[in-house]
């Protein structure tokens, strides 16, 4: 988008000289307060709103040079409340654009079934009508419908804002998974900064009057807000939230304070010698049972053990989760487990604090070099899912 302005007939300037370079095959989030021109910006991309000035290029081609309906069918569009056709079945809703493009009935139908599976909808819903679905399911249908003709671009306007937080989180994870599989170029509008940080590869913060306040990766947004407006908009706890972008991989995990429930007195004495004030007792499978003082072992009854709180998955969860676990733990130590729930070690708040300081220092040097080669340090775990950000 190059210096795009939209002035409505009544004189409202909804978007003011906005220039954005939207990266391919990633999620770009437009975020800002109500009325700042997010929807207008999005709708200029598929020409539901025509810009007053400036040009918009997709893959180097001016969108004004394409027939408008061809352009629109090459871009999926998802809106709040899904905007489903209430008079058509779920399968027919999803098959809308393929049918418009002249696909045969069978091909469109097969495609709809494939997409229902992809967005996590049961095939038995195909023949139902929208009123028979929950809000979250309708939203999934909206996403499936937008993906139906396999468009390279997906425009999403507050798609998840009408569902409850739990469903929203599920939909967000689903979107990240689908994006990981399909590699679409997604432009996502929201007024929820947590959603923006959780989903966006890059986030454009807009200010009332249609100005771009900052266009950056989420981690950078949290660490270096461009001005007071962005800082204010990001809200409380920037420091803590930024920890989501630091992996727990390098954490120094201690295995000495971990003992099996059937350990002998000598083993316990040896473990206690390491100086840890508490020992973590594990069951026969290596799963955590609880904390105990070395003196009261062996033979402490399970109900005498201190609760271990919530464990974090070493290497997969972020430092934010690790710190959260340590803070929640009555002993101040966090329990690290592997993917199967087996204890791999324990770590103290102090050690996590050191890791945070280390990550900050590394971040500063990476930033200095990163500015030149523009490498993206996007935090992803093994499943391609982004670190847990929204608290």
């Amino acid at each position: 988008m190059d210096s795009v302005t939209k002035r409505y007939p009544d004189g409202t300037v909804a978007v003011d000289r906005l220039s954005l370079e939207i990266p391919d095959r990633s999620i770009t989030v437009l975020v800002g307060p109500s009325g700042c021109g997010k929807t207008t910006t999005l709708r200029m991309i598929n020409r539901m709103v025509e810009p007053s000035e400036g040009t918009i290029l997709v893959d180097g081609v001016d969108i004004q040079k394409q027939p408008v309906n061809t352009l629109r069918r090459s871009m999926g569009y998802v809106i709040q409340n899904a905007g489903l056709f209430q008079h058509r079945t779920i399968a027919d809703n999803i098959a809308t654009v393929p049918r418009l493009l002249g696909w045969s009935k069978q091909k469109a139908r097969a495609r709809a079934e494939e997409l229902m599976e992809r967005v996590g909808l049961d095939a038995s819903l195909a023949k139902r009508y929208p009123y028979q679905l929950s809000g979250g399911q309708q939203q999934r249908v909206g996403v499936a419908r937008a993906l139906a003709a396999d468009p390279p671009v997906l425009l999403m306007d507050e798609p998840f804002s009408a569902v409850d937080p739990v469903v929203r989180k599920g939909l967000q994870e689903e979107l990240l998974r689908i994006q990981g599989e399909l590699g679409k170029t997604i432009i996502f509008v929201t007024h929820d900064i947590d959603e923006a940080i959780r989903l966006g590869t890059k986030v454009a913060v807009m200010r009332t009057g249609g100005h771009l306040a900052q266009f950056a990766e989420p981690a950078e947004l949290l660490s270096d807000p461009a001005d007071a407006f962005v800082e204010d908009f990001l809200g409380e706890g920037r420091g803590i939230r930024r920890l989501s972008f630091f992996p727990s991989e390098g954490l120094d995990l201690l295995t000495d304070p971990v003992v099996a429930v059937d350990a002998t007195a000598e083993q316990i004495a040896a473990r206690g010698a390491s100086g840890a004030p508490y020992l973590l007792v594990t069951d026969g499978d290596g799963k955590p049972l609880g904390w105990s003082e070395p003196g009261s072992l062996p033979g402490a009854a399970p109900e005498e053990l201190l609760a271990y709180g919530r464990p974090f998955v070493a290497g997969q969860d972020s430092l934010r989760v690790a710190l959260d676990c340590a803070v929640l733990s009555p002993t101040g130590w966090a329990v690290a487990v592997d993917g199967t729930g087996k204890v791999v070690g324990v770590v103290s708040q102090e050690t996590i604090g050191e890791a945070i300081r280390g990550a900050h220092a590394a971040g500063r040097t990476a930033e200095a070099t990163g500015r030149q080669d523009d490498s993206t340090g996007r935090p992803e775990d093994s499943t391609g899912r982004k670190a847990d950000v929204a608290g």
């Binding site: 539901m48 629109r72 709040q80 209430q86 008079h87």
Partner: protein, 235 residues
Amino acid sequence: MSGFFDIPSDLQASYVELIGLHLREALLPVLAGLLLALPIAQLCVRLRWLYPPVLWVTTVIYAIPSLAFFVVLIDYTGQTELTVMIPLTLYSLVVLVPAIVDAVRSVPQETLAAATAMGFGPVRRYVQVQLPIAVPAIVAGLRVATVSSISLVSVGTLIGNQGALGNLLADAMFYHRPELAVTSVVTTAVLAILVDALLVLVRVLLTPWMPRRSHTKPKAGQPDPAALALEDTAR
């Protein structure tokens, strides 16, 4: 008992023929009214300023007594069914035009935006999205228009016995046979109720996508068309 269905010979029709005639004179105008109302309503949706004057005109037409229409029309169309059906057609517009306009306008903004975003042109959008979603409200309008049309046909009696079942009312007075009036009123009411039920059935068949309203209360303030017909006929 046979007196109820013993139709005076001046009407030159049997009881069953009168019913057929009545249905034709009542339903054709509603059909014509629907065909007129659809484009008029579409214009009113596109050009917002047109709606208030159109509404005003249809209301004024509705206020003109049918007798006044007959006086004017009789010079052109004579003492025929057509003379009865033309005013009935115009009367139906007062119900149908607003029903269609409101129905089409009430299609959710999101649905329209979604259709546009998927590359529906304006015509395709109207035919494939707006009209189907408007069907329940259009049928509701049709029910009122049909039922009132069925009762209004009777006034055709005034122009050379063109009132179908309504003619029995005049004959009841003329021959002092009150049972004919009963036949007329009851048959008209039963026709209205049957046709209304038929329209409801059509609505249900056309809109499998509507939530079943079995557990929702009928809206207050929306009188049952069949009840209206009974009132009209009794008047």
